[in-house]
């Protein structure tokens, strides 16, 4: 099967005066498993429906395998879409559901028989052909929907929140199955999700969308470790965002940051281009080390400060503390060992932050 690329070039779409997509640029590589992540209303589903032809963009172009398909009707595109609610037709058997696309393509009966059988085999439902969709469990329905889409051998596979209708255990299992199948077929796959864990565990690369704008594109690791802005920093995982003052020296390349009311520290990390003096310091809760008492000496690149416990939340592997440090609220994780009692609200503790684990955002 030929692997194809998908490219969005400045795609803009408005409903009336509401701009849903504002100049989206994406370059999805052949054979890639690509996630579109964003909160509801970010335009991610619209972008997916647009690729399938159910929404029309007014600006820009959509290239599949290098060809602009913008003007093609849904039924003229070889783009398979698996719907969030599966959209299996209740009046047709599982077999007839899967055979639908082949019948529309006027394939000979023998070919249809062979291909439908193979597709049901692929998703492990070979014995379920004569059932009705509503006699299947949620996971089985999902597999039928997948088989129905794969059987027409689409150029690109689109998945709309594919796992959101399944319960948690099934979700993890289906996630792995989907990934394994995608790897085996080498099919360019784009899936939409609002669940960052789902995106991070499966995608080769992902794009974070907010308010119709692509905020950042990259591998899950890049997005997690090097968020491009405050939105990505908080949407992908949890992050502390603190307002700090950046003091740059025009003559040397050295820089310092001031945590208002707490002190200043040398900043060895990257300084965003054109950063103003007021910046945002971003660091993950697990970058903070919590100690009962201050340590006698700490490296210059490490912030040590007094903190007061406000509340805590037990998460299993860690306990997450909500702390007050000066005038700021800070989230910090403390690794849990069995028997370790939490600090009560009001307890005075010490927090350490290695600035090598922090980033400056504009």
């Amino acid at each position: 099967m030929k692997k194809v690329s998908v490219q969005c070039r400045g795609i803009g779409l408005s409903y009336g005066s509401t701009e849903v997509l504002k100049g989206v640029d994406l370059d999805i590589q052949p054979g890639e498993f690509f996630a579109l992540l964003g909160p509801s209303g970010s335009g991610k589903s619209t972008l997916l429906r647009l690729m399938a032809g159910f929404a029309r963009h007014q600006r820009g172009e959509l290239l599949i395998d290098g060809v602009d398909v913008s003007a093609r009707a849904p039924w003229q595109r070889q783009v398979g879409l698996v719907f969030q609610n599966y959209a299996l037709w209740p009046h047709l058997s599982v077999w007839d559901n899967v055979a639908f696309g082949l019948v529309e393509r006027r394939e000979p009966a023998a070919v249809i028989r062979q291909k439908v059988g193979a597709a049901l085999d692929l998703v492990g439902l070979a014995d379920y052909g004569q059932r009705r969709p509503n006699q299947l469990s949620g996971g089985q329905q999902q597999r039928v929907a997948l088989a129905r889409t794969l059987v027409i051998e689409p150029q690109v596979l689109l998945l709309d929140e594919p796992l959101s209708n399944l319960d948690k255990t099934l979700r993890v299992q289906m996630r792995q199955e989907l990934l394994a199948m995608q790897r085996r077929l080498g099919l360019t796959t784009i899936f939409v999700t609002h669940d960052q864990e789902e995106a991070m565990t499966t995608a080769d690369r992902m794009a974070v969308l907010d308010q119709g704008v692509v905020q950042q594109v990259g591998t899950p690791r890049t997005l997690y470790d090097e968020p491009a802005n405050a939105f990505v920093a908080t949407f992908v995982g949890t992050n502390n965002l603190l307002d700090v003052h950046l003091q740059t020296n025009a003559h040397s390349s050295s820089a310092r940051i001031e945590w208002p009311g707490l002190g200043t520290w040398p900043w060895a990390g990257a300084v965003p281009a054109g950063a103003p003096s007021r910046c945002v310091l971003s660091f993950r809760p697990h970058a903070v080390t919590l100690l009962p008492t201050p340590a006698p000496d700490v490296p210059a690149s490490c912030i040590q400060a007094d903190a007061i416990v406000q509340s805590h939340e037990f998460c299993g592997e860690t306990t997450r503390y909500r702390l007050r440090v000066g005038d700021h609220g800070v989230l910090a994780d403390r690794p849990h060992r069995s028997g370790l009692a939490p600090w009560a609200p009001g307890t005075r503790v010490t927090m350490q932050l290695d600035l090598g684990q922090a980033r400056l955002l504009v």
């Binding site: 039924w75 037709w89 639908f100 969709p133 027409i152």
Partner: protein, 550 residues
Amino acid sequence: MVVAAFLLLFLVAPVIRVFQAAFVEPDGAWTLSHFGAFFDQGLMRESFLNSLQVAVLSTLVAAAIAMPLAYFTVRFEFRGALLIQTLGVLPLVMPPFVGAVALQLIFGRSGTVNLLLNEWWGVNIPVMEGLGGVVFVESIHYFPFILMNLTVALRNIDGSLEEAAQNLGGRGWRLFTRVVFPLALPGFVAGASLVFVKVFDDLGTPLVMGQTNLLAPQAYLRITQVGLEDPMGYVISVLMIVFSIAAMAASAAVLRHQDVTSVQKGGSQLQRRALSPLAAVAAYAWIGLILCVTLAPHMGLLLLSLAQVWSFAPLPDAWTLQHYARVFEDSGGMIGNTLLYCGIAATLDVVLGVAVAYLILRTKLPGRQALDWVATASLAVPGIVLAIGYLRLFKGVSLPGSDTLLTSSWWLLVLAYAVRRLPYALRACMAALQSLHRALEESAENLGATPWRTLRRIVVPLMVGGILAGFVTSFITAAVELSATMLLVSAESQAPMSYGIYLYMQSVAGRGPGAALGVIAIVVVALGTWWSHRIVERTDRRFATAQETT
């Protein structure tokens, strides 16, 4: 386009023709003089006021019957719920003018009840006399419209809204009048406006009861006795349409706010309470009384159809089956005609219904909203007005491919049925299409099916329950339609059952066979109603799980 042309030609054009005739002088100038002439005639003024009075009173009486019943079913835990539901359908399965005849036998001056009362206590209750009798028959016949709409509306009230009022101290009658009833008002208004329109437009009942001083009978008499050129018939028609449309528009205006009252996500219905013993007795007594009165016409008709001799006696004196034999001998053609006409009309309706529903809900065609209004507006066009419009519009037009006049063929009947019953089929199709998730169609298109193929392979098969329900509703309501039929039947060989019953009922000797034919009509209608309920339930169940996931 075909759909729009059909509606224009067979609904809009005839109505416009009627309006034109009412406002135009013989020489072609616009005038209001016909209306002046109308209100100058005492008879016309009286008919107009009588019609209004009868319609308003019937609506009020129907509401008085229906409201306690609806409230009982939704509010209290008791076993009568099923009984009430049955009650809700029973009167509707009988053509109202047949009900009038049968009620005469039970409640008339020499009917069973009055004879018994007279014998025992020497009293008489004149419920079947004069206009009051018309009100009695009409409200007995049409109260289910209010009952059904009000029950649905009460069911849809979010229980927390009432609980909030109770929490703040509301209770009893004030709770009902200030919170519960206002929330159910849209349902009540929908039902009440329908009753008003139906009663205002009804021709058969007053004719059968000999009350001709009402608008619909006057229009009929004018056209049949004075002729098609008499402007008075058109003036009456215009008045009837205006009042019907006003009533429908009023209810549409109220209904626009309906969505605020529906159960919120995670909400629950009104709490059901146990009835106190005293209240239970009252409730059952009321239901029992209504049930008896509602069943009376059915019983009366059945007795009449089996009676050999029945005069001035509570029950027939001798029994026979010969009326049925005579009906099958004489009127087999009429039964066949009904099946043929209503079958064609109902088929037309569902085809148009699917097309209009699809255009309205699934396309961005300009003017699709207007299509909806026009199709729905045909509810407000009285059968007799449509018939007059047809006779006037198609005067002298021959059937394509032959030289039979269109006005003397039965095709006009079929068209009138189709147009007047279109709203029922359209509502059923719209509901069926609305409950279909768009993704079911999009997935077909995604797999390569064109919209036309999607319509054929996915949409229509999934709508089949709604389509069948629409077909049956259109069919059975067309089968009992009389007002357009009376004007459009040009030869007895073309007459359908409803006209046959009416003809039989005109003579004393014909009442037996007429009743027999009526019983047959009721059985047909009841079977059809039951069948359509079954279909809807079965399709619902079949697709239930599929819709849960949407």
